[in-house]
Symmetry: D2
């Protein structure tokens, strides 16, 4: 099978580098185009990221000499790739316009940027939760006058560690009405250079700009229904998020207390629901789908970032400490890898679903 050609916008940043690293050896996709800001354009990829390649894995040799394109120049990508992963870092308005321009040029956009998350006909995908939101693509194309292009986004990395456990409960017949969550988020979520080390040595920072707002609003869209060519948000869950930055490289941890709207499952019943949870990516056998999307850890004091972030190749959510909550009904700890499932890995899984659904060609 000929592999699908992939471009990466914002290829020199941290998320872009993660895409390049994770796509190495991918069975369906191969990177054929990299683009970044005009400052990097024209240089070989290896030169453009010199001194800024931050991954443990070495840069794939066959990409080192690829010449970086100007991400603002859509025409440069035409013919070079079938779709792009967008890890652009610009003003939101500019990103929206640029992602639309790629779509208009028949180049689908699988985006990590937050610019289009609020656009009512843009699916915000967590593949295990709302794969049916891809049904919007025809309406999206019609509304924009695009033929083959599309824009699909992923939600903020901060909510990945509890959205799937939450959804599994709702799907099993236990809708949730209220949720208070406190996160301890890894510094890689802020990119590179990102968080200064003077703020992270012997310290935590109980604030991440914009993160609480995203954490509280995005679930409504993800749990929304498709109707009339747009997503109608589900506002049945009230969420309060406290977002904290802690001295951890990768892996966001969340402490969740929640209240059920009606029926209240027992502790072991919930664990059974989580351990049995499978969804569309598993059924379709998507290459990056974790075999077990939710891994429940019975050990005291788990999950922990340095022990559990790589579960399911960094694509599974690890959960532990499920116990009754004296204020609401239950509480637990969730953890997911923010730069893998929460960023590039999640984007790749989105693209795999798009491919399986026939949206990529």
């Amino acid at each position: 099978m000929r592999k699908i050609s992939v471009g990466i916008l914002g290829a020199t940043g941290m998320v872009g580098q993660n895409y390049i690293s994770l796509l190495e050896g991918h069975p369906w996709f191969e990177v054929s185009y990299v683009a970044a800001s005009p400052r990097s354009a024209g240089q070989k990829y290896k030169d453009a990221v010199k001194g800024r390649w931050h991954l443990t894995a070495d840069m794939p040799a066959h990409l080192a000499d690829l010449v970086v394109g100007d991400a603002n120049d859509v025409s440069a990508a035409v013919g070079k790739c079938d779709f792009v992963f967008s890890a652009l870092e610009m003003a939101k308005d500019e990103i929206r316009a640029l992602e639309n321009a790629y779509a208009a040029a028949d180049i689908g956009v699988v985006s990590n940027a937050s610019a289009h998350r609020g656009t009512v006909n843009v699916p915000m995908l967590i593949t295990e939760i709302n794969p049916h939101h891809l049904d919007l693509i025809p309406a999206q194309r019609a509304a924009n006058g695009w033929k083959k292009g599309f824009v699909v986004v992923k939600p903020n990395c901060s909510i990945q560690s509890y959205m799937m456990p939450l959804f599994a409960l709702q799907r099993a017949g236990f809708p949730v009405s209220r949720l208070i969550v406190s996160t301890m988020q890894a510094v890689s979520g802020a990119g590179y250079p990102g968080v200064p080390s003077l703020d992270m040595i012997d310290n935590v920072v109980p604030y991440i700009g914009g993160e609480e707002e995203k954490s509280e609003s995005e679930p409504s869209k993800i749990f929304g229904r498709v109707e009339g060519g747009v997503i109608v948000n589900d506002t049945s869950i009230k969420i309060s998020a406290h977002c904290n930055r802690v001295p951890v490289s990768d892996g966001h941890t969340a402490c969740v207390s929640l209240e059920f709207a009606a029926k209240k499952p027992g502790i072991e019943e919930i664990i059974a629901i989580w351990e049995a949870f499978r969804s569309v990516p598993q059924e379709l056998g998507l290459p990056s789908a974790p075999e077990r999307p939710i891994i429940y850890r019975r050990e005291e004091g788990r999950p922990q970032p340095n022990k559990d972030r790589d579960a399911g190749h960094g694509m599974a959510v690890s959960v532990g400490r499920l116990r009754p909550c004296p204020v609401f009904d239950i509480r637990f700890v969730g953890l997911s890898h923010n730069t893998n499932r929460g960023a590039a890995g999640g984007g790749i899984l989105n693209a795999e679903l798009l491919k399986a659904r026939g949206c990529l060609g």
Copy 2:
């Protein structure tokens, strides 16, 4: 004025060392006796803590040659000190029995141990909140047949960062009904050697044995009323605590969401209440009382452990990020120094209140 002679039980441990360091130059108290386990007994203090003195400040020279007594031998303390700070580390039953034995020998006990926290006629003091619980001392003495002895304890360090802000609101006429808190606690709370560094490098541990139970039950006693020679707990606030260990040396941080029982004050009203809050220790001018017990920080992202833990010489609570809560009414971040206000400093302040109330002699 002749200073009051003080003994320290458990003097070689981390809390004991903190007592010794904080009492250096104290205007009312002077350390005249140190005791520890039989293993240390008989050695000079400097030899007993050799290789285990963990404070920045050097050991006070005049205590270095003090011979360590056996904490189990109450008679050894008689005549050497007027009262003791107990930082004993043993089984709870043993601590209870031993603290009682000191009290029976006319040596008052100001304890950091948790053993007596559940005893109904033992005050669990936060000096700004429940100084009137000292009214129990006569009843306590009567019930036990003690003449001059007593036992007073302090609560767990994990709740210090939000109990005072909570109390200030309740005292101002805004009782609280429900509270969900997630803490990020410093490793010094576990003593020395305490938490292994392999668990704290690039990691957080979302579990501290016994800490959530204490955090949820102790406020009831602190807010309780004295009646019939015992404390009758106030169970009007429901609390859910998520306790986490993070790579911070000193300073516990708490993210709090809470619901008011009736009237709901506005944001600026609350800040004004907190900034104006003063209580008995301030009115009495106790030497260790912070001038402003609650310090509100308006900067984004404060309070933070490495910037705020030493506020008010480590005795003030720093609060910030007060904002509406989408689920309950308000939310905020609190921070206090766990080994100072939360341990030895809090114990010393308790003793100062006892002195001011005439309980020490």
Copy 3:
């Protein structure tokens, strides 16, 4: 091919756990016996390490129910394994006696303990440097009256990051006369619980008990020659080691300045020597041998623990910053994974060489 049965002494400790994890799926060896202190003996392995399993990888399921033997009872191992990896933690005298007892019972010992490092007829192996020291085995057996048993040890983890680069230069005709090294060592080198986090948050500790002595004496034996049934140390290199503990989980870094005894190679010549370096394990294609034992990094500021420790599956040494030394001749930075190449991985590679040399059966 039937796999060779392996026992692990000290299987519940950190090095023991690493052995178990690294041997999972090994092409030649399979773990058939685990032993530890009498305290753990009789329990299932999963119960004996409960709350102390510190690896990211889950415990291999097929070993979880293995009953732990008493490491002091040699007879319990007989018939259960062909040889053992020793990660015993006891007094040196006891370890020496016990390792000898296993050898006397026809069970070869590949040891991580330091007890036998000074024994003149016990090879201290770094497989790429002194594989010929295995020639001692017949003499060792004869001297002890052993038939099939043997004892082979590995050196301290602190020297692994520069011994191979040093040896490569000496083998290429550039003997070294003097070397001053300063290490920054990971906390995993001290096992678990090991280094208290209070000593590693916002701190370094410029001292590791016994480490400098080992670092200065062990190279003499490794570079020694076999003569008359013993190793005669090579004392031609003078070494001064400064050993420091830093807040790094895995990966020891070393800053080396060295002086050549005679000829002085140029910078690019040295890099070429290192990059071309291959030795017996590579020639034999041993399963755990890194393809390139020495990896030279040309980037500024490399090697670094979190980026380079896993090079060559944690078995390669990464080197960088080769430059002239204003005092001696050259200086560079070396890095190796202390619990992989420096401990269990190195032990397994030693066993693979023993197998290839016919010493295991």
Copy 4:
């Protein structure tokens, strides 16, 4: 006594903030003028550093409303201050020109910048070592045509932890010929935002741009002699420096091996020399001079950053682990506070010496 008016150039950066904090309550100096880049000029100081005030101590209230001047505009400083501390961050050429311009305007410059370190008639002061270099000031003024102005600099923070111990030995009659040092440097040395936390969590970086060159060349000037209106460098010591960045907030640690040129003192003799060491700042009773400039710690594993950096109010050098070196003669560990003695504190002490020597007015 009227206090001397002080200006701070680069007042909004980390070093500038440290100056402001350390000068609070200074007996001789008071901050009367703050200047920074044109971007900050015209704002109140509190607004210019908003979100960037990084110290534990709150900003002095009386400076909060001071309007920030443009550091490039020398005339704005005239009449507002008697001399300035320069913590400018610009190209070296620009700094040199600007510092000269202040001097030409009769405003003395006590600089933390490296720009003038190589200028032959600019003293590079460590007050305990080369106070006599101030004898150059008249020649400096004459050469530049300045009346009251001057430029004095301090050396790099990386060498502070061993220069004083080294000098004490030389002054006592034990000249040193060769020295190899490996440093573990705190992140505050790189300012704010400085070192990204992704490089400091579970990591060390064995490289700091330009630091090794400075460490190797600056001692020559500090030990130099004044002759013919310039400093003639002393090149009798050969130095090799390995500079590393470690996850420590404040406090540079150095591991030193050194060789004596002639006579070799014994271990206890050296300790006695260090403990007895006093120099001009102590004799003059300068306000910021540490009572004991060198503090020897006999405990195993000391000095350590989090325990010793604040010794002597952050102005003393802590030394430990003195022992024979198998390659050279002796080795030891030195530690000093890089943002206090190594930056702003050192600058203030320089100014105090200038005042005592009559150079300030």
